[in-house]
């Protein structure tokens, strides 16, 4: 069971979190301006490295913050985790 460091609450068991996938695909500011190919690349193509991976998790059973986690997909080692924004709201 992974131990994920919530930047707000501290280390918590994986069961308190839900997974959000690749952190490297922020939503385009103006989707209408993208070609079908570009939109598809954003929507469907993901970083899928065998190694360190930046990903999103939500501390859904705790503070409900979405956080960033850098984790090694081969060893599962959590390298670091961070607050995504000086999140103002939600």
């Amino acid at each position: 069971m992974l131990l994920i460091q919530c930047p707000f609450c501290g280390p918590r068991d994986q069961v308190e979190f839900s997974y959000g996938g690749d952190a490297g695909v922020p939503r385009p500011a103006d989707p209408a301006a993208l070609s079908d190919d570009k939109w598809n690349a954003w929507l469907n193509e993901r970083d899928n490295p065998a190694g360190e991976h930046d990903e999103l998790w939500q501390h859904s059973m705790g503070c409900r913050r979405w956080i960033g986690v850098r984790r090694n997909t081969l060893s599962h080692e959590v390298v670091s985790s961070w607050a995504l924004q000086p999140a103002k709201t939600a």
């Binding site: 069971m1 992974l2 131990l3 068991d13 839900s18 959000g20 922020p26 939503r27 103006d30 989707p31 209408a32 993208l34 079908d36 939109w39 929507l43 999103l56 939500q58 859904s60 409900r64 913050r65 979405w66 060893s75 599962h76 080692e77 959590v78 995504l84 924004q85 000086p86 999140a87 103002k88 709201t89 939600a90």
Partner: protein, 1011 residues
């Protein structure tokens, strides 16, 4: 010392062992009653009673006896207990004896003495490894017939036929240092860590601390080693941060220092009802010390599976720990020093040691010297070619061998028998590296031990280290020193700065003679006799060699092909020997052939312990609404929606299901009904930017929603498919309330939080789930206002509360929110009250509505009415593959601006003309039903595959329309109104001709909504 143990325990020695002779326990094995003592295992008690034959082997059904004294036991697997508490495949050495224990042999019929399956042995040449791949292919049906027989022979013990009456608990724990194994190394590690101030958990699968010291006669501080063990335990148990778990096996090491430990509760007999039978500890440790010791291995020789062939150290354990002599006259066969200790202990207890057969040409060292001094004969440079005997060992056939274990070609001439009723073997030791491997630690080959040991240079990412025999230290003095060092280092790595000085206890170092790596005794006629590597799966040296000849040369292929190591002991005994023989056959050094990795668990763990309390009814929590108790008391038939249970309908008297639903529908359409909709998700939105936010997540317009007004909204996923729908009410200037579908409530919440926190953090919007705070009910039907008037303290006239408006008020004295929203197509009011008042409000409404014959209705009636109204729902129509256009929502889409999913709507596939579109269906012949889940085709009589034009999403009988109706998704459906199709359900053997109609069957103008 004398070897007389009394008539009932003929093999028991009088003054040895850690058993309590004042407590006699009686037990039954294969129908015969025996007795043993507290402190015995089933295996030791059987041996004490002189029982040799305990089971039959898997493939050839050969006779088998007890070989080891631990988890590695391949043969003595028994069926324990009877009835619902029976358990298959338990290892006799691991079963603590208790009074009334009942056990029997497995895999034999009619009995272990006479077993029909033994015929397999005569056929054994036809059944080499992998035989089944080469046969049974012609005729095609041949395999299926044979498979049935093979299958019948499968398995070992039998599963219980009834539900398990026992309970299993889970338990979390945290510590700085987890020590696995309480032998000398583990004890030393725990002591050092504890003295450094660490929180320590020490877990051992045995019932007593001490590990192998319990079965040896070692000295520590010039005293019995057990004295030292007890001192350490006393100190540990009194230290504040230490927890000692006995009968607790570390079953697995997972990510990030998480270890699971299975604790057996009680002594083995059924536990009292307030206790769980087993407890799964989930321990999060900063540091882990593995001190699980080492496992003795064997050497392969002819017929080495005869009952009476036993590992030397195990025999020693039975003697010293349980006071049981494994035989009267022992022959000892070894390639290393450790068997000398066994021989010496046996000798001292009065067992005659016929000879020690040592493959090493020139053994030496303190153990050797002691054996010579004791007058034991040693045949150096010799090996055992075969075990001789019929049902049990009678003698060993011995001949000179070279350093690779090969006997000369004239072996038959030089061979001589050495008589004995027990043949003790030691082929060296394998560190118990399972947990290290599970933690992803790497192994390296140790030439001196001729085995794999943990490679300290390649520690796993989880903070794990090994100590003692598990790390390859075979002398007690090294185990203790390593243990202390490991405990100290672990505490320090766990962040404890205090570093105590502990002086190591005094242990003498032995002088030793190196092991000679011999894996099998080979001689010219060897192929005539089976030389077993894996006793459980009947895998022999010849099987491995055959696999190699056929090209299965990687370890994994060889093991898969031969089933070596696939038994319930997971290859604890045979793996390294198999590997060595494979290496020999392909002429490659062992380390290059590789090793197999161990997967959890360490030894098999009950499914019950893994599941813990979260199974059966508690597999998932059941969510209940505030009115749940009322529903239950009023005939509700419940249905699961996600985790919720909801009233599907309320049965009155002997009504049939459909009658009840029809009655409820009519009650709403003609009068008034009340339905519990508490399960819908409710999200409270506050902040300056709520309107803008809603605009970005819904396809329709929310900028114009006025305070006190409600609006239906539809959300998409980014791929353009409809995600969810619900209503939004503007409660105040900066305050909104959103509802979601029951099933998507948490997914929507999480998605919205994501958008606000990650994508649009500049928006000032706060989301709070208030699903649980409110109990919600909908009052629907032409008479709904009449009922509402009686309980509300405000004006609810259509002028004051028009369609899609919202008011706050008190209802039956309780603060309430009233929304005039409708799903059924009737005049309707959704009412929210604080959940604590839910049931009282519901009851007050039911009472107030009596004159109007207010009827409680369930989800089925709600579903019928929404189908009549042509409302799609998430699931049947919005099935994750439907666009808003497909569902007829194209006109709802806002002209301007981006929203989630908009970009995808213009993808060619989503904009295509031939997409399915939602339509209504009615049967052409009004009395026919429309089968649920049917597929739509143009022509009913064709050959498969049929071209399918669409599918029936929701179908029901409409008491309002008076016939079956359905919502369907049909290719170009909106253009096909008036056309006929066939609704086909081959599963129900039905095909019904239907006509495509508008999806709104009832009150298309919506006149009833507004009243």
């Amino acid at each position: 010392m004398s070897g007389s143990g009394g008539a009932s325990n003929p093999m028991r020695v009088a003054d040895l062992g850690r058993i309590d002779r004042t407590r006699t326990l009686s037990f039954t094995f294969n129908g015969t009653r025996y007795s043993g003592f507290e402190g015995d295992t089933l295996a030791s008690a059987l041996l004490a009673n002189g029982v040799r034959l305990v089971g039959r082997s898997f493939r050839y059904h050969r006779r088998r006896g007890i070989v080891t004294a631990g988890a590695e036991e391949p043969n003595a697997l028994v069926q324990l207990g009877t009835g619902a508490r029976t358990e298959p495949n338990l290892r006799a050495p691991q079963i603590p004896l208790y009074d009334g224990l009942v056990a029997s042999s497995q895999n034999c019929w009619p009995s272990v003495d006479f077993d029909i399956g033994a015929i397999n042995e005569t056929l054994s040449r036809l059944l080499p490894a992998g035989f089944h791949h080469k046969t049974f292919m012609w005729p095609t049906s041949g395999w299926l017939t044979c498979e049935r027989f093979i299958r019948r022979a499968a398995g070992l013990g039998h599963a219980p036929a009834e539900p398990d009456p026992d309970r299993y608990a889970h338990r979390h724990a945290h510590c700085d240092v987890l020590v696995c194994g309480a032998g000398p190394a583990g004890l030393a590690a725990a002591l050092a860590a504890s003295r450094a101030g660490a929180r320590v958990i020490l877990a051992d699968e045995g019932s007593e601390v001490g590990g192998s010291l319990l079965g040896e006669r070692a000295q520590v501080n010039r005293n019995d080693a057990i004295r030292w063990v007890q001192e350490v335990v006393t100190e540990l148990k009194s230290a504040p941060g230490v927890r000692v778990l006995m009968r607790s096996q570390v079953a697995a090491i997972w990510d990030h220092g998480m270890a699971t430990v299975v604790e057996q509760i009680g002594s083995g007999a059924p536990v009292p009802t307030h206790l769980p039978r087993q407890r799964l500890w989930k321990i999060r440790a900063r540091e882990i010390v593995i001190a699980t010791g080492a496992i003795e291995r064997s050497i392969a020789f002819g017929d080495n599976d005869l009952p009476g062939v036993m590992l030397a150290a195990s025999a020693r354990t039975y003697l010293n720990r349980h006071g049981v002599q494994p035989g009267r006259r022992a022959v000892v066969f070894t390639n290393n020093d450790s068997a000398y200790h066994a021989a010496l202990d046996l000798h001292r207890s009065g067992v005659e040691v016929a000879a020690i057969i040592d493959v090493r040409p020139e053994p030496s060292g303190s153990a050797f010297d002691a054996a010579i001094a004791a007058g034991i004969k040693v045949h150096a440079g010799h090996g055992v070619l075969r075990a001789l005997g019929g049902t049990t060992v009678r003698a060993a056939l011995v001949a000179p061998v070279d350093v690779s274990g090969r006997a000369a070609s004239d072996a038959r001439g030089t061979a001589f028998p050495v008589e004995g009723d027990v043949l003790l073997v030691s082929g060296g030791w394998n560190p118990a590296v399972h947990l290290w491997s599970q933690a992803r630690g790497k192994l390296k080959f140790d030439e001196a031990l001729a085995t794999f040991v943990p490679d300290p240079a390649n520690r796993p990412p989880a903070h794990v280290r090994c100590a003692g025999s598990a790390a390859g230290a075979m002398q007690l003095v090294d185990c203790v020193v390593q243990g202390l060092a490991a405990g100290r280092a672990a505490a320090s790595d766990a962040g404890l700065r205090h570093s105590p000085t502990i002086s190591a206890p005094m242990v003498e170092r032995e002088t030793t003679c190196p092991l000679l790596p011999v894996w099998q005794v080979d001689y010219p006629e060897a192929c005539r006799y089976k030389r077993f590597l894996d006793l459980q799966n009947d895998v022999t040296v010849a099987d491995v060699e055959l696999a190699v000849r056929k090209g299965y040369r990687s370890v994994e292929h060889m093991m898969c092909h031969t089933a070596l190591g696939a038994g319930t002991n997971q290859g604890r005994l045979p793996n390294i020997s198999g590997l060595a023989i494979l290496a020999g056959a392909i002429d490659t050094p062992i380390p290059q052939v590789g090793t197999t990795t161990f997967q959890p668990p360490y030894t098999p763990v009950t499914l019950g312990a893994i599941a813990g309390p979260e199974t059966g009814l508690a597999l998932d929590p059941t969510r209940r609404t505030a009115m749940d108790g009322w529903h239950a008391a009023n005939g509700a038939v419940f249905v699961n929606t996600g985790l919720w249970r909801r009233a599907q309908f309320y049965r009155q008297g002997r009504e049939r299901d459909l009658e009840a639903v029809n009655r409820e529908v009519r009650a709403v359409r003609n009068g008034v009904g009340l339905v519990d909709i508490s399960t819908l998700g409710r999200i409270d939105l506050q902040g300056r930017d709520c309107a803008g936010f809603l605009q970005r997540i819904y396809i329709n317009d929310f900028a114009t929603l006025a305070i006190g007004r409600c609006r239906h909204g539809v959300m998409l996923r980014e791929d353009g498919m409809v995600f969810d729908d619900g209503t939004v009410t503007r409660l105040g200037e900066r305050h909104y309330l959103m509802t979601t579908t029951t099933e998507n409530a948490s997914a929507v919440m999480s998605r919205l939080e994501y958008l606000l926190q990650v994508e649009w953090p500049d928006l000032d919007v706060y989301l709070t789930s208030v699903t649980e705070h409110w109990a919600a009910m909908a009052l629907a039907g032409p008479c709904s206002r009449a009922v509402l008037e009686k309980v509300a303290d405000i004006d609810v006239s259509d002028a004051a509360l028009p369609y899609m408006a919202y008011r706050e008020c008190r209802l039956a004295g309780v603060p309430a929110r009233v929304f005039r929203i409708s799903f059924s197509g009737e005049r309707a009011y959704e009412i929210n009250v604080p959940a604590g008042h839910g049931r009282a409000t519901w009851e007050a409404m039911m009472a107030a509505g009596q004159p109007e014959r207010l009827t409680a209705y369930g989800t089925d009636a709600m579903d019928v009415m929404r189908i009549e109204k042509g409302h799609f729902v998430v699931g049947p129509e919005a099935n994750g593959r439907a666009t808003p256009g497909d569902l007829g929502l194209h006109r709802m889409i806002r002209k301007e601006g981006d929203f989630i999913g908009r970009r995808s709507l213009s993808k060619p596939g989503l904009a295509a003309e031939d997409r399915p579109q939602m339509v209504g269906l009615v049967p052409v012949h009004a009395r026919e039903p429309i089968p649920r889940g049917s597929m739509l085709v143009v022509e009913p009589r064709q050959v498969t595959p049929y071209p399918m034009e669409g599918f029936v999403a929701s179908a029901c009988f409409s008491p309002t329309i008076g016939c079956a109706i359905a919502l369907a998704l049909v290719e170009r459906g909106r253009l096909r109104k008036g056309q006929r199709l066939w609704a086909m359900s081959p599963l129900m053997r039905m095909s019904v001709e239907v006509e495509v109609v508008d999806p709104v069957f009832f009150d298309p103008a919506g006149a009833r909504l507004r009243g």
